[in-house]
Structures are given as structure tokens and as C-alpha cells.
Symmetry: C2
């Protein structure tokens, strides 16, 4: 059996939902469907989830409801229900649930905002299951509570509890097509909690793992994963297959197809993941699997991300001071700052940190503590750094990849501020100034893919 | 004024001491002389310090003196004294001091072995000062106690005390040429303590700093510092000038001209250091200074060292665990293991450690603790790693150096196991398998110096 997840653009309107139906019908193994909230229909459209957040904020801010936003939300669902000619009861249920959530926000109940945000996915699921049923496919809406998705109580950042997987396995008994709203679960006490943004991918992955599915299909609006961000390179190569590790490293460093942890539950159960296009379902898509036979080229992708800073510390005779590195990292930890990398020289050490981890107020505190507690000669912070990661199984043991990469930087006239290589077997990381990111990525693409 | 230090080969026999005299006479600024113990006269010869250590060991092991070794030591000094036609009293003093030190070792007195080891330098100083005096140059032997070299009581690893520098400054009052034995100092309580091996360089540097000398000249048996270890490259280029930082990074990673901390006292006082050849004093030598005007090529040297290991740790979702890196370093610190570098990936981290820091017994303990306390998925230790460092002021900001280096590795067919770049402004470090060190260094030399 397959668990199939559809993203927001696949559920944006009635014609998209018709495509979803055809896809489900085309393969009888597609038995469990996880849906996102309705996404954008056109460029300037607003996603339903964003409308719900806007609505919740307006109530919290001035106690009254922003009627314009409310109407837009109801209208999105109304148009779909009408165009799909669904029974009037479906739209009423969707509206009732939104109204109930609004009341919770007004009452300032716990997790009320999460409950309101979740109405987008919930509405999608109600509409899709009703449409499948009406068009002749046996189908039920299954609420995450009924499905057994238990999470810890961390509003907007739910983490799945281990017992969920066994509970989900029970769904295998059901014979009809099950439609589950993505993005949220419930605490053992029955409180609704949402995952982080993009959480429908997480739900899909959890459901696939719990059901021990043969495959987790993730339908988006692209034919496949690209080997590089199309923002930097025109029509880049498509990836037909990737390993879990490659995908994880790529998505960590800016590959936006997935949140970097969304696929973990599926990976743990070694379930193959396939990225496909709702608008072109016959395209091969990208398969993500545990292991792959050896390939010709070792570099499969180039990921990149802005928004890093370099905290540079130097102290004469640092390398003779046992515990210096540990103490420096301890100060950061103490201040709640997590770090990404820490390359070190003999008398100096750099710590690469995501920019938002160190706002100016915190920067002052951290710099002060480092100066005083570690008696260093210099502390310096350099912002506007970008990281570029080249990824591929086996590249760590392949002579010449580092040099090809380094030549690409030289050809682009870009200075490499930092190289981090030697720990990961599947990636190599380079730091550059943000302003030089795009030329560096272009040049790396030419080197490894053209 | 200049402080001049002569190494063991410059003091190996009478003809070498005659050269030392000419060098001192040739420049009236050479007012303070620091000497090593007599070194090897030929390839198969034994250094006097090694004979003294052998002698001390024999007494400690079986309580009796190894007469053969004793006679060899006395004979080295006797031959010199005779060939230089020194008064008989000089040899008697040298012999008396050795005999007194032997008695201390027999009595198992504190620091007795240090006292015996120091007799080599002490004998050299007595002979040189007497020879200078006899040949018409006003000269005195000055004991480190009289000179004011105070150290902490750490046998074989003395560290100079701050007050020494002021005391040494007093020597500027003296008008004759002062000859000071290198390698040892005294605790404030009057106990003799030696520096680590090669400690005459340390003495020279301390004396130059204390006297605020205009230059510290260090006479060895090579015309200059080479840009790469001549073991790997035939007659490599000579370096005419280097900055302190370059020298420090180079000597950290295997440049054997100096112990990497020997020059620190001189550096702190910004005293220019000149490496010269006793056997070819007219050669230009290598100047080491605080700052240099910009040079054409940014790479000035390639240093390399074997004997490292890589402790590799992987754990799923490591990058989400605040404090993981710090905890790992803490375990090492707890076990007294100091580390060199710690490159990290997303779910893995490597720690580069000097091999001798982690003997097999300790390896077991450390690995066990990492497994249990950090609940990692994998710990692996890979020995036989070598580090190569390319060094040069300004290279951090020069586009293309990383790529030239990486190309050199590729041309040699050597895989780069680790790259550490981004912290130091003057160096870039590469890890390779020890077996590939020599071909990598050759190739780097061709790239940067040919």
C-alpha cells in the first residue's frame, strides 16, 4: 500500500482536486491520503493557512474578527464545494469547525490558535473525502485523533510520540480510502497541536511509517527535485534518485522541497519516498531511498542558504589551553545559542551560527562573556555569510571533488571564507559572502552538471 | 645589542667553537651568547645530552654508574679543552659539576636528573667563555641563576616566570661578552629545572626578550628555513623572511627548526629573530619579524606532520541537540585528551587528535563514555592520519589558493580526508592518510613554489 500526500497547490481549487482524484484512482495501492490546506491558485493569491493566521491575529490583537479575511476563507471552501457539487452539509461542517475555533481564540483557550490554523487542512480533508465518495471511490475522512497521531504539547512545534506508530498501524484494517488532514496531532489529553510550518509533509511521513507503507508518495507542483535551486540556474537538471542522507543534507542547507526533518519517520522505517507532480503525474519524479547502486557522478546536488554569521575568537596560545573550545561552546549553549560548525586554527576558532540565533542584544552579552570569561585577545562577528553544500554519496572517498569545487570558486572569482570537510561522508561545505552566493552556485553547477 | 644562540652542532668540537668565536668577534653587537650542549660531530655520534640522560637512567635503574658512558662524556669535554688549549681548571670545573650532579642522582634528590641533563649546556658555556677570554675577547660565564632566569618547578617542562625579564635586563650593565648555558633555569627556591627538549632556543628567546635586544640571532647548521621539509623535496626554496604568525603555524605542524613555543618570549617583545648558519655565516639567513610588506606569492611554506587520528561520531539528528559538541569535547577534556580540530557535519562530528593523546586503554574508555553518555549511533577511530598546512599572510583573502591546493592533491591522486579552513587568517589545513603524505607535499610544492 501507498500513503499519498498532496501539497497546497494540488488542493487549491476544484480542478486541482479532480486531478487528485484521478491520481488516487489510477493506482489501487494509494489507500491513505494526507492533505495540506488549499494553497495559491495564482501568483497573487493567499494560502488558506495564511488567511487563518491573519484572522487569528486580528482577534487576538483587538478582540474583534476581521470579517473580510473570514469571508475570504469561507469563500475558498464554498467555491470548491460548489464547483465539485458536494452536498451542502460538507461546507457547513467546514464552516462550523472554523467558527468553533474562532470562539476558542476569543475565549483565549489553550492552543486555540493551533486549532484555528489547522482548519485549512481539516477543510481540505473533508472536501476531498466527500468528493472521492461522491465520485464513486469508497472513502472516509479520518481525524488525526481517530488515526492515533499523538504529539507532545508544544504549540506550533509538535513532536510525534512513539506510541502513534502502533496506533496508526490499526488503520490497515480499513478497506476504504482514508483521507487524513495533515499538519496537526493531539496530545494524550486531547489537545490539538500543530507541527511546524510545512507540517503536512511530517504527517504524511508519520502515517507512512506507522502503516509500514510500501511507499510514501509526495505530490507537489514540480516534476522532480532539482540538483540546484532554480533561482540561481535556469532549468537545472532533475534528480531521478537520491539517498536519504543526500536528501537530508540538501534540505538542511536550503533545499526547500522538504523541511529537513519531515521525512525522518519514513526514513527510519526505510520506506521509499517519491516526489511527484500533481499536474504531470506521468513524469518519473524523484525517488528517495535508503541505498542506491553506485553512480557515475558523485555530486548529486548543490544546496545553499543565506543568513549565517561567523563568530571569530583569537587568543595567543589557545591550542595549549585544554578545554578552550568546550568553554566557548558552553557560553553559547548557556545563552541558548546553537551553532552549526566550529572550524579552528592554532590560536583561533570560528563558530558558524545562524544569524537569527544571535540578535544584537544577545550578541553583546555573548561577546562580553567571551571576553571576560575566556580572556581572549579578540572577538569579532562577521554577518552576511552564506553556506554552500555540495552533496553526494561516496564523494568523501573520491579524489578530485574538492579540487573541482575549489576551481569553480576561483573561476567565479569568489573567495572561500570557510571550508568544512571531513566529517560528513556525503557532503562538503563552503562559506562565502552572501553577495557572492549566486555566482558561486552558478559556477559550481557548471562544474558538476554541465 | 644582539643575543646570539648557538645550537649543538655549532659546539660539537674545537673547530666549531673556533667558528663561534669568529662569529662573535665579527659583530660587536653580539654581546650575549646562549649555548646548547655539544651535539654530534659526525652522523653516528651521540649528543652529550643523550649521553647524560643515558647515564642518569643507568644510575636510577641499578644504582651503579655506567662508566663507559661517563668516560665518553668527560672525554668530549676533555678533547675540546685540550684542542682549544684551555687552562686545566676549566675541565676540572666541568667534571666537578657532573660529579656533583651524579651524587644528587644517587641520593635521589629532587630534580637531580634535570641537574645532570643540564651539565651539557653548562660545560659548553664554561668552555666557550674561557676560550673567548683566552683568545682576547673579554668574556664571563653567567649561570642562569645569576642571570635571573626564574621558572616554575616542573621538571623537564619549566615555564619562565614573569619576573625573570626584569632581572635579565640588569645584564645590560655588564661590559664583557656574557656566555649563558641554555636549557635550564631555577625556581625562586633555587632548584634547577630544565625546559622541554630543545630548550636552549627557549633560553635564547627569554634572554633576548629580557634584555630587549635589537635582534635574536639563532645559529644552526642550515643556511635558512626551507619552505618545505627537505625530506620530501630535494633542495627546496629558502625563505628569506617570515612573520611570527607564519613561523608559529609552520612550526606547530612539523617544521622542526624550532619548538613551536620557543620564540614566543621574543615575539612578545617584537624582537626580530634571525636564523643563520654557523658554517656559512655570510649567508643571508631567514629573518622572522612581526610584520612584512606584502609579497607576490601568498604561500610561504608547507608544513606537515604525521601521528594524528580522527575520532568520528555520528548520531541521527545531532544538529538539533543543543550542547552535543560541547559534551563530546567535555568527555575528552575529562579524560585529559586535548584535541586539535573538530569539523562537523549535520549529523556527525570528527575530532582530530594527536595519536599519542589516545593510547589503546584510553581509547576504550573514551569510546565507551561517548557511546553511553551521548547515545550516539556510531563511534569510529581512524589512525595514521597526517596533517598538511599551507601557510602565508593574506592567503585567507586571496581567491584561488584553496583551488590551487586542491588541484595539487588531485594531481597527486591523493584524497583529502579533511579540510580545515576559515579560522586562521594565515593557514589552511588538510588531512590525508599518512601513506599519502609525501606525494601530497611534493605536489603542493610544485604548485606553489615551482
Amino acid at each position: 500500500m501507498k500513503v499519498v500526500k498532496f501539497g497546497g497547490s494540488s488542493l487549491a481549487d476544484a480542478s486541482q482536486i479532480a486531478k487528485v482524484r484521478s491520481i488516487i484512482e489510477a493506482d489501487e495501492n494509494r489507500r491513505v491520503v494526507v492533505v495540506s490546506a488549499p494553497g495559491k491558485r495564482r501568483g497573487e493569491d493567499t494560502k488558506v493557512t495564511d488567511l487563518l493566521i491573519q484572522l487569528g491575529d486580528s482577534i487576538q490583537t483587538d478582540g474583534t474578527m476581521d470579517m473580510d479575511t473570514y469571508m475570504k476563507i469561507i469563500d475558498r471552501f464554498r467555491t470548491m464545494a460548489e464547483e465539485l457539487a458536494l452536498p451542502i452539509g460538507v461546507l457547513e461542517t467546514v464552516k462550523d469547525r472554523i467558527d468553533q475555533a474562532i470562539d476558542l481564540v476569543k475565549e483565549q483557550s489553550n492552543n486555540a490558535l493551533d486549532t484555528l490554523k489547522a482548519c485549512g487542512e481539516d477543510g481540505s480533508a473533508l472536501i476531498v473525502s466527500s468528493y472521492l465518495q461522491q465520485s464513486g471511490l469508497q472513502s472516509s475522512y479520518v481525524n488525526p485523533k481517530e488515526a492515533g497521531i499523538l504529539v507532545c504539547d508544544q504549540p506550533g512545534g509538535a513532536i510525534v510520540l512513539e506510541e502513534s506508530f502502533e496506533r496508526l498501524y490499526g488503520l490497515r484494517e480499513r478497506n476504504e480510502i482514508l483521507v487524513i488532514p495533515g499538519f496537526f496531532g493531539f496530545t494524550p489529553e486531547g489537545q490539538l497541536v500543530t507541527f511546524s510550518r510545512g507540517g503536512s509533509d511530517i504527517t504524511g511521513s508519520i502515517v507512512a511509517a506507522g502503516l509500514k507503507a510500501d511507499m510514501y508518495e509526495n505530490f507537489t507542483d514540480v516534476d522532480s527535485v532539482y540538483c540546484v535551486n532554480p533561482m540561481y540556474v535556469e532549468s537545472p537538471k532533475q534528480l531521478t534518485s537520491l539517498t536519504y542522507r543526500e536528501m537530508r543534507e540538501l534540505s538542511y542547507a536550503g533545499f526547500s522541497v522538504f523541511h529537513d526533518e519531515a521525512l525522518i519517520p519514513a526514513f527510519k522505517e526505510k520506506i521509499p519516498v517519491c516526489i511527484k507532480n500533481t499536474n504531470n503525474p506521468s513524469a518519473q519524479g524523484t525517488m528517495i531511498v535508503a541505498e542506491l547502486p553506485e553512480r557515475e557522478s558523485h555530486v548529486v546536488g548543490i544546496a545553499s542558504d543565506k543568513g549565517f554569521l561567523n563568530l571569530y575568537v583569537s587568543k595567543f596560545l589557545m591550542n595549549r589551553e585544554i578545554g578552550f573550545g568546550r568553554k566557548l561552546l558552553h557560553i553559547l549553549e548557556d545563552e541558548g545559542v546553537s551553532f552549526e560548525h566550529a572550524p579552528s586554527g592554532i590560536d583561533d576558532m570560528s563558530v558558524i551560527i545562524r544569524d537569527h540565533q544571535l540578535p544584537p542584544e544577545k550578541e553583546q552579552v555573548v561577546v562580553q562573556r567571551i571576553k571576560e570569561e575566556l580572556e581572549v585577545d579578540m572577538v569579532m562577528i562577521e554577518r552576511d555569510m552564506a553556506m554552500i553544500m555540495i552533496v553526494g554519496e561516496g564523494m568523501n572517498q573520491t579524489v578530485g571533488i574538492a579540487s573541482n569545487a575549489a576551481c569553480a570558486f576561483r573561476e567565479a572569482g569568489v573567495n572561500i571564507e570557510m571550508i568544512n570537510q571531513g566529517s560528513s561522508e556525503v557532503s562538503m561545505m563552503f562559506g562565502v559572502k552572501s553577495s557572492e552566493l549566486s555566482s558561486a552556485v552558478e559556477s559550481l553547477y557548471r562544474t558538476f552538471f554541465e
